[in-house]
């Protein structure tokens, strides 16, 4: 994922138009690459080619606008917010805009992925330019009709007005506009003139969601489709030795049992029969590698932290000297477990592999890469692959990985049937691509009341922090600074989980700063503000957080939360974090009920630049914060001899409504380009919560989930 990296944005001739056979204009555009020389939008909207254009806008001859966007929707709201940006510059009433999810065939589409909170950030310029260009073409067409200068006309709410007060609707001139050249230079609106951006727009799929219409991958059906349940090795490091499918095949509705690799597919006429058939399989498993346990991982990760085989990721000044000369040193080790994603919609995918094409339908965050992998897997030309994306019942990173789509394609390829692979919850949790267990050891040197050195070590499973994360705060704020990483290769599959690495790093670091503030006898918020004064914005190209923006964000959170001035019995914890290009500060308020911490309120300040859709933006922040608190409190996932110890919600605990605080979100107001919100609300939440619990109980929390430590308080609660 490139989201923590620098981005260069190039743009030239990224818009092309065609006159639709049915009337109206079709505009094809690309987000941040230019169009191919020969690319022309089709004259029929059923022929949209997302290889040539990232998205299309149709303006019909009644002036109504349809946006065809293939950008995946996983609940982060881009299906609503991205069209809002186009509609704003095109200047049409939001009610005249509808959005359709486009199917996808792709070799070249580089940014058709939902991940890293980057959709809005990438799309901002291109979406505005596209809307403004389309509007200019309509104005030019109207001006030509009137025989006057286009510059003397204005357009608003889908209506073009001449200097003498004559008017033409967009629909009246759209067919003429379709014949015109695409103008090169167009003027974008000033933020003060926005009518759609910055106003609440309800999720465009709301009516379908509240009435239970088919929307999600699991809801997709095709004529003659067979349901498939897949048996996978129960432990990482195992493979099939032998199996007997007699009992499975005896189940009503089960039509076939097929081994593929180290998995067995049970095909049936309905989901229940497929699941029952799978349970009825008698499989002997044999070891094919090490069977790892959480206790082994603990030892391996500790050995990495204790050893000297780490890679230096950033080093400023002389950390060794700073520690040697310190008055005092604080060192802490923070631990976190593996975490499954647990999307509410279990993994699933439809595949129909036939001689002339490969039809795939389902919820996937990375359609292009998945299509490519499937082409390789079943030895087909990429142009045969037709992949349609559905709405996703959550992603959180899990649907970046197309393993379930590959399974469906492989089974369909073997059986020559149209199949729908459906994971049970147990399959979903046990065949995960988990957030890896990670440990951080952080040390700071203090001298004369100042933090003089900072040394962070990361020991993680399979991979390490990526991109610019080593250059996040407090890089730039402390003269002697070092980040080192090391990893242990495991056969347990791991991957991105909402706010990768920072989801846990932020907690470790922000808990650590809380302790530093205590040692230095300064207010926790003031310590952050003091450190930020050392940072010179724009001096180090690797340091992308802004001290100014972070300072403003922190001050807003402190003000809105009444930091330090709460009523008796309320304990506060603070954390601030920059991730995914967005600055966030949070204050958690807790009370004690029979000595047990009850999370009451979280005050959040966010600087994500211009807020495109406030209701959607707040929804993301509220969800991210509660998700962060829930997983910090309860998320616990371990392995014993390669086998996950929890496979369903009866033992795996997710936060529920009774444990949920009220989240109050405030946005820093500015005119800066918008950045994403799917992830940034989450990282600070665990740290702010740990700091609040420490303030209330004195209990230091060095390990997630906090429940592993807080159980003793919960016992009090039950009496």
């Amino acid at each position: 994922m490139e989201n923590q990296n620098k981005i260069t944005f190039s743009r030239r001739s990224f818009i092309r138009t065609s006159a639709l056979a049915s009337g109206g204009i079709l505009i094809g555009f690309n987000f941040f690459t230019s169009c191919k020389e020969a690319a022309v939008p089709p004259v029929d909207v059923s022929q949209l080619n997302f290889n040539d254009f990232n998205a299309f806008i149709k303006i019909a001859d009644n002036g109504y606008v349809t946006i065809f966007s293939p950008n995946p929707e996983i609940g982060q709201g881009v299906k609503t917010s991205m069209p809002m940006i186009i509609a704003e510059e095109l200047d049409v009433p939001w009610e005249h805009v509808s959005v359709e999810q486009g199917a996808l065939d792709t070799n070249n589409f580089t940014r058709q992925v939902a991940g890293g909170s980057q959709s809005i950030r990438f799309g901002w310029d291109a979406l505005r330019q596209t809307g403004a260009t389309a509007k200019q073409m309509l104005v030019n067409a109207a001006a030509a009709k009137w025989g006057i200068e286009a510059s003397s006309c204005s357009a608003s709410n889908g209506v073009i007005t001449s200097p003498t007060g004559e008017t033409l609707g967009y629909g009246d001139v759209v067919n003429d506009a379709a014949q015109l050249e695409v103008p090169e230079n167009v003027t974008l609106k000033a933020t003060k003139d926005y009518k759609i951006i910055g106003k609440d727009a309800v999720n465009v799929d709301i009516d379908k969601i509240i009435t239970g219409k088919p929307l999600f991958g699991l809801d997709y059906k095709a004529e003659g489709m067979t349901y498939v349940s897949v048996m996978r090795p129960p432990a990482f490091g195992q493979k099939i030795s032998s199996f007997d499918d007699t009992n499975a095949k005896a189940i009503n509705g089960v039509s076939d049992v097929v081994q593929f690799g180290d998995k067995i597919a049970v095909l049936a006429s309905n989901t229940w029969a497929a699941m029952k058939g799978k349970k009825a399989l008698d499989v002997q498993w044999t070891n094919d590698g090490t069977l790892e346990s959480t206790a082994d991982h603990d030892k391996k990760l500790n050995a990495i932290l204790d050893g000297n085989q780490l890679d230096i990721r950033r080093e400023d000044g002389n950390v060794k000297k700073a520690f040697a000369e310190a008055d005092q040193v604080l060192e802490r080790t923070y631990e976190s477990p593996f975490l499954p994603h647990n999307c509410m919609e279990p993994m699933n995918f439809y595949a129909n592999v036939t001689a002339d094409k490969v039809h795939l339908v389902g919820p996937i965050q990375t359609p292009a890469g998945t299509a490519r992998r499937i082409a390789n897997l079943i030895d087909r030309d990429e142009k045969d692959i037709h992949l349609e994306m559905t709405r996703m019942g959550g992603g959180f990173g899990r649907r970046l990985y197309g393993d379930f789509a590959l399974e469906a394609a492989e089974i369909s390829n073997i059986t020559k049937q149209a199949v729908k692979v459906v994971f049970s919850r147990e399959d979903d949790m046990a065949a995960g691509i988990y957030r890896p267990a990670i440990k951080y050891r952080i040390a700071a040197s203090l001298k004369d009341g100042k933090v003089t050195g900072y040394h962070l070590k990361e020991a993680a499973i399979n991979n390490n922090m990526y991109g610019l994360i080593p250059h996040f705060f407090p890089a730039g704020a402390i003269d002697n600074y070092k980040v080192e990483t090391g990893n242990y290769r495991s056969n347990i599959t791991t991957g991105a989980w909402r706010a990768p690495y920072t989801n846990f790093l932020a907690y470790a670091e922000q808990s650590f700063f809380d302790e530093l503030a205590e040692l230095l006898e300064v207010d926790a918020v003031q310590l952050r503000l003091d450190l930020l004064k050392n940072v010179k914005d724009g001096q180090d190209p690797d340091i992308q957080y802004s001290a100014k923006r972070m300072t403003d964000t922190i001050k807003l959170a402190a003000e809105k939360s009444n930091w330090g001035k709460t009523r008796e019995g309320v304990y506060q914890g603070f954390a601030a974090y920059y991730s995914h290009n967005t600055h966030v500060a949070e204050v958690v308020d807790i009370t004690l009920k029979n000595g047990y911490p009850s999370v009451e309120k979280v005050t959040v300040a966010v600087d994500c630049g211009i807020v495109v859709n406030p209701t959607g933006a707040k929804n993301q922040v509220e969800g991210g914060v509660i998700d962060g608190i829930g997983h910090a409190m309860y998320g616990d996932f371990s392995f014993d001899k390669g086998k996950p110890q929890d496979v369903n919600f009866n033992t795996y605990r997710l936060i529920r409504m009774r444990e949920t605080p009220t989240v109050h979100t405030y946005f820093v107001e500015n005119d800066l380009s918008p950045t994403g919100l799917g992830e940034p609300g989450l990282p600070p939440a665990g740290g702010a919560l740990a700091n609040a619990i420490k303030a209330a109980t004195g209990q230091l929390l060095l390990k997630q989930p906090f429940m592993s430590v807080l159980k003793k308080y919960e016992t009090n609660l039950k009496v």
Partner: protein, 153 residues
């Protein structure tokens, strides 16, 4: 395989399925009512909540053989001529994120409000505690239940 007569959203239907088939899969696979969602299969998450004779139940854990003659309402049947106040409230407050669990949330809420037309905040939090929302839209769910109660009074 056996034949079962059910009444779903006011209509009589007949299905031919194994007697242990959970109502959830009868609705989704046989009757094409896919608004009721599969989440866990063990009555822990609430995504599959429907009304059985007006009471919220977990359809993933109800075998069809126990339902002969029962009245079942799914999310598709919650709105009569117009949206149910719960659906209106969900829309007004823009509750869903991914939206997957929301049918179950609304079925729990509508059943709860029928018996508790004037709930306190604590009542709402207790009533909705059995429904997981992985996107954690809990704040808005809580507000929407309160708003729906107001609309119904």
């Amino acid at each position: 395989m056996a034949s079962y007569n059910l009444k779903v959203n006011g209509k009589s239907v007949n299905v031919n399925v194994d007697d242990d088939t959970p109502l959830l899969w009868v609705l989704r696979d046989e009757l094409n009512l896919v608004g009721t969602k599969f989440g866990c299969g063990i009555a822990q998450c609430g995504a599959c909540t429907v009304h059985l004779d007006g009471v919220a139940v977990r359809s993933c854990s109800l075998p069809v053989s126990s339902l002969e003659g029962s009245n079942i309402t799914t999310i598709e049947g919650l709105a009569k001529d117009e949206l149910h106040p719960v659906q209106e409230a969900w829309k007004e407050l823009d509750v869903p994120q991914c939206g997957y669990c929301q049918a179950g949330q609304m079925m729990t809420a509508s059943s709860f409000l029928k018996d508790n037309p004037n709930p306190s905040s604590e009542d709402i939090r207790n009533a909705m505690n059995g429904n997981l929302c992985r996107c954690a839209s809990y704040n808005r769910i809580e507000k929407a239940v309160a708003l729906a109660a107001k609309k119904m009074s």
